[in-house]
Amino acid sequence: MTEVIGWLLDVFAEEDGITLWVLAEDGERLHLRMDFNITLYVAGDFFLLRQAWKYLREKNVRLERTARRDLFLGERDVMAVTTPDPANIQKLFADLQRQFPSLDYYDVDIPITLRFIAQTNTHLLGRCRVILNGEWVQTIEPLSSPWEIDPTPMPLRILTLAPECNPAVRKPKQLHVKYNQREYSLSLESPRPFLIGLKADLQRIDPDLILTDYGDTWLFPLLIQWSEETGIELNLNRDRERTVLTRKANSYFAYGQVTYRGAQAHLFGRWHIDRKNAMSFGEYGLEGAMEQARVTGIGVQEMARKSPGAGITAMQMLTALRNNIMVPLQKQQVEGRKTLAELIRADHGGLIYQPIIGLHGNVAQIDFSSMYPAIMVKHNISPETVGLEDAPEGLIPKTLRLLLEKRLMLKNILSDLDPRDCRVEILKARASALKWLLVVCFGYLGYKNARFGKIESHEAVTAMSRELMLQAKEVAEDMGFTVLHMYVDCLFVQQEGFHKPSDFTPLMNAIEEKTGIPIALEGVFKWVAFLASKRDARVPVPNQYFGAFQDGTLKYRGIELRRRDTTLWVRKIQLKALEILARANTPREFANRVPDVMNLMEDAKRELRIGRVPLDELVIRQRLSQTIEAYKTPSPAAHAALQLQAHGRQFAPGQSLEFLFARNGTGVHAWELEEALDSGKLDTKRYYKLLDRAIQTVIDPCKPLLMPERLL
């Protein structure tokens, strides 16, 4: 028997138990094995259950009659089916369901990592003590908790591989390799020396993480292909018995837009993350993905590529496993019956006020911290508790409580740190990763496929949030403040003579006391502008504003600068314009700065006219919302796609296209075309228009409301 202390990298299902990869304290990477039984549950008609029992008796499973809790139906008589073969549970279940489709199945699709965590109380990337007999795990116990604020860092070996250009545009000639401080390139000209070189690097470095650009969609498929062609064996896995797991590309519709997800290549025994094919990587990077893996129990490779929704579902499953609640295969809860009047009362979102249009001085923005999750925890809102008085803590609040506390703690630490502190970046990434889990948790209460969702609980949260916002408004008004704007969980307030942050502390204390939800000061604006609709200057638009805090920091929402389809050139100029305006300390000074902004705009237009703006700053990015053939009148993006299609490129809905506005037949020139656009062909007028609009947005607020002439 030997004892090992280390970090848990990954867990996989095998036909006889599971495989664990552990990064030991002494630097060794250990491949360990463990016996592991898993159990699924079947409920329903007694006669059918009896038949299923007979059917299963022939198989390598243990059967038992027992009672177990369904979240909504309570205790149920179930048949427990236990197998020592975790790798084939899906097959076992599929056979069973084919024979007995009308029975209810539970705990059939729980990821193996979650079962392992629930049983051992360890967590992914966590420290643990393992007692071994050979490579077989006898016992494993946790030495850390996923809720630790400052986990001991893992000494990960990270190998970065990136081609010098986007392989979808041009064939790369070099692969940049980076490890620690060393950087070099491998030539992609001929496969054989390249593969031999890369293989040697892999063996020498033995990385825990291969971080790539285009690894999923280009590098790994290429490596596999070359390896087959040349006969040079190259297993990218640390686990020699496994091959690379690949998943196909797909397009799907979510949150009002079509999204494209490229093919994926997953590794065993080490991780592969493709920075260009990882959903939220840009948002919080490796630190964030690791933080999510730690708290959700989904492996790092998966978590980096999946939406936070998958993470929160995993956390709910984990809570269910730990509390002996069965996880149904499908959502069972449909919307309850309501009268029209009840529907009208219930079917609302968060409270959104129309702001008071124009420029305002000395305005404080105060935000409820993680308002929706805080409501779920404080008011015990969960699909099985909604509508019940004095229910015990529900599944959702139980899942969220620690997550919420951890995020608040991280935020508090961050607010005390100097912004230049080296820990800030990492803590921010981790706080942001947790924030996304909290954000989607609310959506999943009402999501049609969420297993622990029920629309009434979703509605209960928004109803409570509207009530709390109104309470906050009343408290503010009682204390003499004007509420300029309210948006779901934040308020903009103003009062004559109030300008220091501390002036707003009594208000925040009063709101916190009244609502029971923590509230924080985002900052005090020297001035902030709430915008009017472009269509009618008398109509305010919620959540479109820009302003300068007292330290000169800008904050802007909903304007061109925030939109991904705005060209870099326009964004740069608009930001410069805002920086000029940010020097103004009052709304009056703001107006004095407007001529400077106009000069800036004229200069920018001249630069464009004489061809001094780099073309890449003028690139427009738009998404294809459907297949090219489906367009009756092609959008600019579709025109660009057609130009590229002529050169053999294929496009799926959800993919983005880049192009320039040009004076040719279609009005666009696809950016990825081989031949560059002649700069004389650039549609400068079209770009002027875009810039005019963006500048108008920032100077409009100081214009008084003008009535058309000869009105009355």
């Binding site: 009208i344 079917d347 959104i352 129309q354 999501y447 109104l470 109509v539 305010p540 009105l711």
Partner: protein, 88 residues
């Protein structure tokens, strides 16, 4: 996302569209005032929503009246100030 009923914003847009023939028949100067009524209603979308009425347009009409009364109150105040200034 995922809502069953139309939102108040949608409702106002639809009502405005249904009244397009009415609006078109008005003189241009009156059209501007007419648009102003809808602009007034749009300033109170949150309140119209919170009213949870089966006939939300009733609340929208009330919002228009409210903005009008507000404007009258502001004008009254201005007139009073002017009178005071002139008599003083």
């Amino acid at each position: 996302m995922g809502r069953t009923l139309v939102t108040i914003t949608q409702l106002l847009n639809e009502t405005e569209a249904n009244l397009s023939a009415f609006r078109r028949t008005l003189r241009r100067s009156d059209q501007y005032i007419f648009d102003g009524l809808f602009a007034a209603a749009r300033r109170h979308i949150a309140a119209i929503g919170q009213a949870e009425s089966l006939l939300p347009f009733e609340s929208a009409l009330l919002a228009m009246l409210l903005e009008q009364s507000k404007e009258i109150a502001v004008l009254e105040q201005k007139v009073e100030e002017l009178i005071k200034k002139n008599s003083g």
